[in-house]
Symmetry: C2
Subunit: 166 residues, 2 copies
């Protein structure tokens, strides 16, 4: 009998409590990136994405992630971040900045809003000013910058690794 | 002075030795996924991707990742995997199978070939038969499956977390 046999479409893991990870996204240039983020977020058990700008999911990319995710639309990021802080979330930006922490060693708070910037500009200064922490992901080679959805996926993975049961 | 100020396009980290992580990819349906994988691999310091089928990078997506990555073309995956084993690599598939290990707790060998399946079929039985181990990534919600590039990114992140200096 083969040692490794396909076991696709098995039942997902169960969380002992709902995920308290929220994503907060700057206006994106590309619905593709937002949709990739949404699909990964759905798989990670995330149920809330705070969007800004014209946020629209492509169901061919996001699949049915949107079924369990509430996509909140806000006009701009800073007031949405203040709202999230008021709700008790620690605001953690994903960016290359001064005083940033290495994602490899960063200890996430359970209630975390992961704040993701635009593909080109990253997080603007007025969004950075609202943050409690910034994490960055080590880069060792060309092209010296992760795609925004790739970086978000890595950060979500790290959060879920720290809180596998929710 | 603001606490967090942009520090984009800083110098990358240096590895104390070349990355001994190689990617080995089944024929992909989409050059987009392969190109996303290549961009992330480049940033992670990976220098070699073993491709099968008609593998072509889209430079708009992969950026200049290809400058430091050798893209090897092979016709099919199993002989390429045997070649990699012969070179000393541990063959680790990314798939949902019986006897798979949780990526969160998997301890990578330094010389690892991460073996990635096709978007639809995943890894075929003849590829699975060559593997030393299979890792899978926990899924907690819809759509119950990560995109292939997303899953590859998570596994590369985990490898780099374990070997930050190469």
């Amino acid at each position: 009998m083969p040692r490794f046999e396909h076991r696709r479409h098995q039942a997902p893991r169960t969380l002992s409590q709902p995920r308290e990870l929220v994503l907060a996204c700057a206006p994106m240039r590309s619905g593709v990136n937002l949709s990739r983020i949404a699909r990964a977020a759905g798989c990670c058990g995330v149920t809330r994405i705070v969007c800004t700008g014209r946020a629209k999911l492509d169901p061919k990319i996001a699949r049915d992630a949107a079924e369990n995710i509430v996509l909140e639309s806000h006009r701009t990021l800073p007031p949405a971040l203040r709202m999230l802080r008021h709700e008790g979330y620690t605001l953690v930006g994903l960016e290359q900045t001064t005083n940033s922490s290495d994602l490899h060693s960063f200890v996430f708070d359970h209630m975390t809003a992961l704040v993701v910037g635009n593909e080109r500009q990253g997080l603007t200064d007025d969004a950075l000013a609202e943050l409690d922490a910034v994490v960055e992901i080590p880069v060792w080679g060309l092209p010296y910058s992760y795609n925004v959805a790739t970086a978000t996926v890595m950060a979500m993975y790290e959060y879920c690794r720290q809180f596998p049961d929710g």
